[in-house]
Symmetry: C2
Subunit: 653 residues, 2 copies
């Protein structure tokens, strides 16, 4: 990283020494310098990611389990961030104070987009500033709140909006695209409860507790936080991102229902938290004066939340279905490249349409991903299936590791951190408590109506999987204007780093300690070798009604399964039975139009089974060596051999 | 597109009506509006690309050959650009004139990075502008040359730098990655001559002729162009982009040597033109006063050109070789996702390192792509081969179509066009002449030393394939400060559009008219079914010396083949013979270190043949229906059946 210093110094020198050759060349040199600093920043992250990839390989090769790739990315980020912070010289931004022309014709109260700045060649020499030599354009950046503290130093940092527009969409789309929908729908009740009610509850509890904590602190701090601020903190710290835990689950072949609950919840609560924080900000905008509750504004915020969430969902789902129709009724599958391009463009369009309509693009892209996997995937050619799967897997991998690296680096380089020990301690305590409030009471309520209840050790594991990640960080870094928001960013970064590194590292031990069954080969095998093994999908379940293990499924899933298998799947894919069989006689002519010859001609179930996306879409990393960590080895004495037997029986609920 | 107008109007209205609720909310609304306009712009391009993809499918389905996908993208772009231009209201940027504070401590002659602008709440009301109410930050954009003409209207346009940093790299990398290296090296002499000497010659001829033309025009125009300006125009209009022609070649299975010459030349002349134009600009910067030649500066420019080109080449090649070493000596191939990520990151790092070192990233990425294909590809796991191939194929497809769509749209929406009929006519004439000067004299010279000479009809086809494309446009739009540069942009856009649509559409007819042999199944088959057919690679050729058809190969290729097969391939891949056999005894211990067990154990040639990248990397779009256009059908009477026989014999040189 000494390169960094060297470059900056050399080029600052060049800028200064170019003085004699005229302003234009100095400006060119400055633009070049800026471009090179940008490239250097990107290069730093590229090298960090390369290093992470190589270390992950070494760890996998040597079967190290106490540190996951995301933890690794964070740690590398921290190290490089510290080097950049303390090892390199600062590259201060030059600024000048300016006033509007007295005879300006501008008469709006909003500041203009651009300032035409009449800059004298040499201020000190001419003395008379009223004769401009050159005019430069300056574009609007934002308000300066604290005029003194303006040494903006943007080393190795990016505009926070790139997270929402570039980094998060592929991560969230991939989560939707590779969701194990069979188990997701089977546990839909629990997942929705945890994600919707749980996240809102957690946000409220964390927000209230934090407000209480803040009131106990010195007056200067207490006054800078409103209740809405702490509520916003509650909303942003509530979504979980149990990447590390899930990677270990998939490695140790943990019970798929537990996996589905944790994964499904984390996918949905990202979306919920994003919309929730938006609603809180809208509320704040409407009544920004005192932070007191007003009942109409509160209701409007709830309306906002529900409206934006459901409209985004609809936009995403519609775009997914539209892609399914396009791929069903055209022969674009003969040209896989065109088909893949269409798939990517339509999915991206879902994001953009939602953003243009002032909805939440990330939520739209999530549900678009789910629909693409559930319907479109079945229509795609083998080449496109493979290509889209691998493309988004790679994008997801790079984006995830980038964001965790960035969390580490920005801890040192982002200029707007505010370390407040009390707020940080309070943040850690309340976020733990918020997770507990999310899991235990709701599990208790769910168990009242759920046939095979969620066992206590599963609840503990759900609580333990409450790692914080990308979404929390992205929301925290989005707005750092006030000191309160800066304290929130610092606290969020620290919580993310601590949970990812420590909790992520301890996940294997937690599994053993909580006696969660591992090595659950059967269901895992179903996914991996679906072509060979008999495969039971949602549709068959719903037709069999309450079959052998149908009783534990949520009612919602049953209803949905019926609509899905009798209307949507035949309409949007080549699946059997065709619409001509499932729709009432009245719709027969329409149904005939919407049924392809392939649907008539193929066998009843074989075609569907072979091509159903859920079976081969779930992406588990290939494991060249079957790993099996012996709990005995990790916790000698604590665990006896009974566990694995007990576990498999216990999980077979 | 009426949506566009509606949105802009509605939100301008909201901004104005928000006046009462305070400046902060107005600013928020404005930021939201800008974000939505950005999203809308992206959405327009996404929809255009989707439309292009669907139309391409229809065209392929109906076997339309008179319009290629890039032509289609341009035409759709033109239509939508016209609608945006004439159909929507303008969204003018507000601006204000400003002066520096008299007591400012700023004392550099370079304009500051940022202006702290003290903005009074109501200029008209208070009257006294010296009492600031709020301070806003404005960041530097550039110099305003013409103060009057400042209604900057950035509808559906992007920063030109995105072409060099985002759009071109994947296109160029893909070109390098899927280069048919066997035929490339076989025609290396001709390709290098056309690309290096030819492009420079063409730039010089076009530049001089244009300067002459400009001198004949009205004085006002003549004075605005220096010789360096027209030379820059020559450099930017010289690179060819025969996408359309090559697509038709691959469809009609035209002689592979002709294909290799046209493709290889277009890949290299992009790089040459980019570095050449950079050298001209550097020259301009150094002696920007009068545009006269100075011998030292001219030599410095040539030094610049050679230095930057070869250093960029070295950076790219080294990064490619480093990736090969990493994939050879680690077992990262056991985890294909990690391997693919490493591959992508290293390739991107090549681009960034070159940019940081003030070299040309695009050139680095081209040679990195060639090395990755030639060495790294052989070490990759099957999954990674497939993934990287498909990933870059998709990126290339999207980037190419985006750039051609953008060329169409920007024709109407980019604010800095300058239509000058004389300059446009001169541009068309000289660019055609420049292509002729590139091909015919150089072919004559080449034929003096080349055993099987380049036949006349091949020369005509080389001339005809001089379509202009992405690189010319990107170079032209990069700098539009002066009127001269704006006239160049307009002329370049028109040349690109005309050549892509008209020449591209006429390519099939030109092939028939020039009696170029088509349906050249043998060599095409070699590439597609390499596993089944005996495959003769560079290495075998070089060992056999001047074998059956070895005499036509350039000497350069022979030397290179020896180094490649005896040193580089065994060092960087698992290919046989191992270094222990090829290196002198002195290096034996080192050679043993660098040889993997796989190299010792595998059979002599089978392994290499099966895995050599050239055989399966060349990406031809899958053709579900074998197409064969009968020349008779296109040019009845002109072409007799003798052609196909003659053709196949003629091409079998």
């Amino acid at each position: 990283m000494n390169l960094y210093i060297a470059f900056v110094n050399i080029f600052l020198y060049i800028i200064v020494s170019c003085d004699a050759s005229g302003t234009d060349i100095a400006l060119d040199a400055k633009a070049t310098l800026l471009h090179r600093i940008d490239s250097l920043n990107l290069l730093i992250y590229t090298c960090l990611l390369t290093l992470t990839v190589l270390t992950i390989w070494v760890f996998k090769h040597r079967r190290v389990s106490w540190l996951h790739e995301t933890g690794l990315a964070v740690i590398y980020g921290l190290i490089v961030g510290a080097i950049i912070r303390y090892g390199s010289s600062t590259n201060e931004i030059t600024y000048i104070d300016a006033h509007p022309d007295p005879d300006s014709k501008y008469n709006l109260s909003v500041p203009p987009d651009m300032v035409r700045f009449h800059f004298p060649d040499k201020i000190q020499v001419t003395g008379d500033a009223s004769i401009p030599n050159k005019t430069y354009a300056y574009s609007f950046r934002g308000e300066i709140v604290n005029v003194e503290q303006n040494e903006i130093d943007l080393k190795a940092t990016f505009d926070p909006e790139i997270f929402f527009n570039i980094i998060l969409p592929p991560i969230i789309f991939h989560a939707g695209y590779c969701l194990k929908r069979k188990y997701f729908f089977r546990n839909l009740g629990a997942i929705l409860t945890f994600a919707m009610v749980g996240t809102a509850l957690s946000a409220l509890v964390i927000g209230s507790l934090m407000y209480g904590f803040v009131q106990l602190m010195p007056a200067s701090l207490a006054s800078s936080f409103t209740f809405l601020d702490t509520l916003y903190f509650g909303a942003l710290i509530s979504p979980t991102d149990p990447l590390t835990v899930l990677a270990i689950f998939s490695q140790l072949k943990v019970d798929v229902n537990l996996y589905a609950m944790i994964f499904g919840e984390s996918v949905l609560n990202d979306a919920v938290a994003l919309v929730l924080s938006g609603a809180i900000q809208n509320y704040e905008k409407r009544y920004s004066t005192d932070g007191e509750f007003e009942i109409t504004a509160f209701l409007a915020a709830i309306g906002d939340f529900i409206g934006i969430f459901s409209l985004s969902l609809i936009v995403g789902a519609l775009m997914g279905c539209l892609t399914a129709l396009m791929t069903k009724f055209t022969h674009v599958r003969d040209w896989p490249l065109l088909e893949s391009a269409l798939f990517v463009l339509m999915s991206y369009a879902a994001f953009l349409i939602a953003e243009v309509c002032e909805l939440t693009g990330v939520v739209a892209v999530l549900f678009c991903g789910i629909c693409q996997a559930h319907y479109t995937y079945n229509n795609l050619s083998a080449d496109s299936r493979n290509r889209t799967k691998q493309l988004f897997e790679l994008l997801n991998f790079l984006a995830e590791n980038f964001i965790f690296t960035y969390i580490g680096v920005s801890m040192f380089t982002f200029p707007k951190h505010h370390f407040d020990p009390w707020f940080i301690i309070a943040g850690f305590l309340t976020s733990t408590l918020g997770r507990a409030v999310n899991i235990y009471p709701l599990s208790f309520l769910l168990n009242l109506g759920r046939k095979p209840p969620i066992p206590m050790n599963f609840q503990h594991m759900l609580f333990f999987s409450g790692l914080r990640g990308a979404m929390s960080f992205a929301l925290a870094i989005r707005n750092t204007v006030s000191e309160a928001r800066q304290a929130m960013l610092t606290t969020t970064s620290l919580i993310v780093i601590a949970t990812v590194v420590l909790q992520g590292g301890a996940a294997t031990h937690a599994l053993a300690y909580l006696r969660i069954p591992t090595g659950y080969e059967l269901s895992q095998g179903q996914n991996e070798e679906s072509d060979a093994l008999p495969f039971r999908d949602v549709r068959n379940d719903s037709q069999r009604g309450s079959g052998d293990s149908g009783s534990e499924k949520a009612r919602l899933a049953k209803l949905w399964g019926a609509i899905d298998s009798r209307l949507l799947k035949p309409l949007l894919t080549h699946a059997r039975p065709p619409l001509t069989e499932t729709l009432p006689a009245f719709f027969r002519p329409l149904a005939r139009l919407l049924t392809t010859t392939r649907q008539y001609t193929q066998g009843d179930n074989n075609g569907l089974r072979r091509t159903d996306s859920d079976s081969d879409l779930c992406i588990d990393e290939p494991q060249p060596v079957p790993t099996s960590i012996d709990p005995q080895q990790l916790w000698p004495g604590l665990v006896d051999t009974r566990i694995s037997v007990e576990g498999i029986t216990g999980s077979n609920i």
